[in-house]
């Protein structure tokens, strides 16, 4: 019964995600016609060989659009599911993945790599090449969340209130260190840093996608499996343990999965705000608070919205590109304020 209910609730979002991905593939400064898309898909599926006049469409789709759209869908799904899980875990509607230090830690490590890259990390950066920044961001994000979890755990119990405060402290510390590094940076580095913190999908490459599938896609699916214990946690931790939930294990698992999914996404796209905060609320408004619907729904809608935000980012100032984080914040911030006002009025 519940499985079919979840499927019924999820199917419109799955359809929206597919539609957004098709639109993201077709639309943009270099237009691909729908018939061109069809021809390329037919060729991919082995239904019909690619007619010669669609060679250009195939190149645009294959080299530029497809990895970008897939990256947006995966990263958005990770942000949406991680946001939903953190709101459930912290029992707080205003929680988002940034709360657990992962974004601030990733930013600190990236800024360090940009500013000190040539000197301190020179050898490592040389060996990693184009992977230097993503690896630094991923490690920094995980490190910050690990630090927060350690600081927030007293005598084996990770109290939600202590975790929240530890997250605030870790965020502040990472922010201060980031500021110190920016102070040391030259003008070109400051510009690189600024664009990284605003997020972009322009750097998406096929080579990144296996990593993103493994480190964003799989944790997102795993978070969906925590739906039932997270539902029990809506009642409180003692009540959840009375229902047989291993509360500490669920807390640790949800934190780790959310941190990996967000850190890996941020590593390739830079910071993208408000998706993790806003998307779970949109699902709850329409379908209630059952995590069996909220988690997969947030993943699908998060993916769809990030694909559409990237489409706007590419189109609004063409041929230049807006940072995608600017678009998500432009749409997300007013929604967030409306949510606050609505909560205040209720």
């Amino acid at each position: 019964m519940s499985a079919t209910l979840a499927a019924r609730a999820a199917s419109p979002f799955a359809a929206l995600l597919v539609a957004a991905m098709l639109a993201g593939a077709v639309l943009g400064p270099a237009r691909v016609t729908p018939s061109g898309l069809m021809a390329v898909l037919a060729d991919l599926l082995g239904l019909a060989p690619l007619p010669a006049e669609y060679a250009r469409d195939a190149a645009i789709l294959g080299v530029v659009r497809a990895p970008r759209v897939l990256m947006a869908a995966l990263v958005g799904a990770g942000l949406g599911a991680a946001g939903a899980a953190m709101q459930g875990l912290f029992r707080n509607p205003l929680a988002d993945p940034g709360l657990i230090g992962v974004s601030a830690g990733a930013a600190l490590a990236t800024v360090a790599a940009i500013v000190l890259g040539g000197s301190v990390f020179g050898a490592a950066a040389g060996a990693l090449g184009l992977w230097a920044l993503p690896v630094a961001a991923f490690a920094g994000g995980l490190g910050a969340t690990f630090l927060m979890a350690r600081l927030g755990t007293v005598a084996g119990v990770a109290s939600v209130a202590t975790l929240l405060l530890a997250g605030v402290a870790v965020n502040a510390l990472a922010g201060a260190l980031t500021g110190l590094l920016i102070f040391m940076a030259d003008d070109r580095q400051v510009r690189d840093i600024t664009f990284w913190t605003l997020g972009s999908l322009a750097g998406s490459r096929w080579a990144h996608l296996p990593v993103v599938v493994a480190l964003v896609g799989l944790p997102t699916l795993a978070l969906c499996l925590l739906a039932r214990p997270l539902n029990a946690l809506l009642l409180g931790e003692a009540e959840a343990s009375h229902l047989g939930v291993r509360v500490e294990a669920v807390k640790r698992g949800a934190l780790a999965l959310a941190a990996v999914a967000v850190a890996a996404g941020v590593a390739f796209t830079g910071l993208i705000g408000f998706v993790g905060l806003v998307v779970p609320h949109l699902i709850r408004l329409g379908f209630g608070s059952d995590h069996r619907i909220v988690l997969p729904g947030s993943a699908l809608l998060g993916g769809a919205l990030l694909v559409l935000a990237d489409l706007l980012a590419r189109g609004l100032a063409a041929p230049a590109e807006l940072p995608v984080g600017v678009v998500t914040a432009l749409v997300g911030a007013p929604f967030f304020l409306w949510l606050l006002r609505r909560r205040g009025a209720a």
């Binding site: 539902n231 409180g236 047989g244």
Partner: protein
């Protein structure tokens, strides 16, 4: 069903529970009474497994509580907290359905829908199934909590236990009578029921045995008419009591006697 032996709980250098032992048996309603700060809620938390005591042990069916799988405990024992606040909005029936979690991926799962309906019926909230939990009154929420526990124990192989923390606190006189009757009926069906109660008259009327705590110690346990004696109550609560009903039951706090004592001095 659930037994506590020599329970000691300390917090901040103070003894909250001092060598408390009791056994909750299938088919009985056991009331825990005592003044505020006597350790009633602490004892409930120890029995529920929320709090590991500094000394002594809680056992379920003869086996240490912490040695059980959490899920197996949840299939035999439900706990009704005094208050439960939801982090996000849910309908009353959804909250009750959370009680079915321990039965997920078992054949009993097929009974989930029916168990929720039965539980809501039992507490008289059948028509509230679709109401948002946040819009319910305190008494209605308390009954939703009881319904959630009943849904949790629906289909449990006996013996099973139900622990309740002041389940009548937000209820009016009629609802109290209804809930206490329900607890009696559940005990009649073989359930072991332990309820922390504030009202001594409720304890006297409804309960097979009464455990009285004072200052963290178990000062008396036994049939209501032996424990709820005016002399013992006066010693524990520090005010005079008088037994109104036949046979020494129905103790009431005697306001007149207190005033008389003061004026005669």
């Amino acid at each position: 069903m659930i037994g506590a032996r020599g329970i000691v709980v300390r917090a901040g250098g103070r003894l909250l529970l001092d060598d408390v032992s009791l056994e909750l048996r299938p088919g009985e309603v056991l009331a825990v009474v005592g003044p505020n700060g006597a350790g009633k809620s602490t004892l409930l938390r120890v029995l529920a497994g929320d709090l590991r005591p500094a000394g002594g042990e809680v056992a379920m069916e003869g086996r240490a509580l912490h040695a059980w799988q959490p899920r197996d405990v949840a299939r035999r024992r439900a706990v009704v907290p005094q208050h439960a606040a939801l982090a996000f909005p849910m309908a009353a029936a959804e909250v009750v359905a959370l009680g079915r979690l321990p039965w997920h991926a078992t054949p009993a799962m097929r009974q989930d829908g029916a168990a929720v309906t039965r539980a809501l019926d039992a507490v008289g909230l059948a028509q509230f199934a679709g109401r948002p939990y946040a819009t319910l009154s305190g008494g209605e929420r308390q009954r939703v909590g009881v319904a959630r526990a009943l849904a949790q124990l629906d289909g449990a192989a006996p013996p099973a236990a139900l622990l309740l923390d002041e389940p009548t606190a937000s209820l009016d006189a009629g609802q109290r009578a209804g809930l206490l009757r329900l607890l009696r009926r559940l005990a009649g069906d073989g359930l072991a029921v332990l309820a922390v109660l504030h009202d001594l008259n409720e304890a006297a009327f409804v309960v097979d045995r009464v455990a009285m705590l004072a200052g963290g110690r178990l000062v008396a346990i036994g049939p209501a008419r032996q424990v709820l004696r005016p002399a013992l109550l006066e010693e524990v609560y520090g005010v005079p009591f008088r037994a109104l009903a036949e046979g020494g039951l129905l103790p009431v706090f005697d306001v007149e006697a207190r005033r008389g004592a003061a004026t005669s001095r």
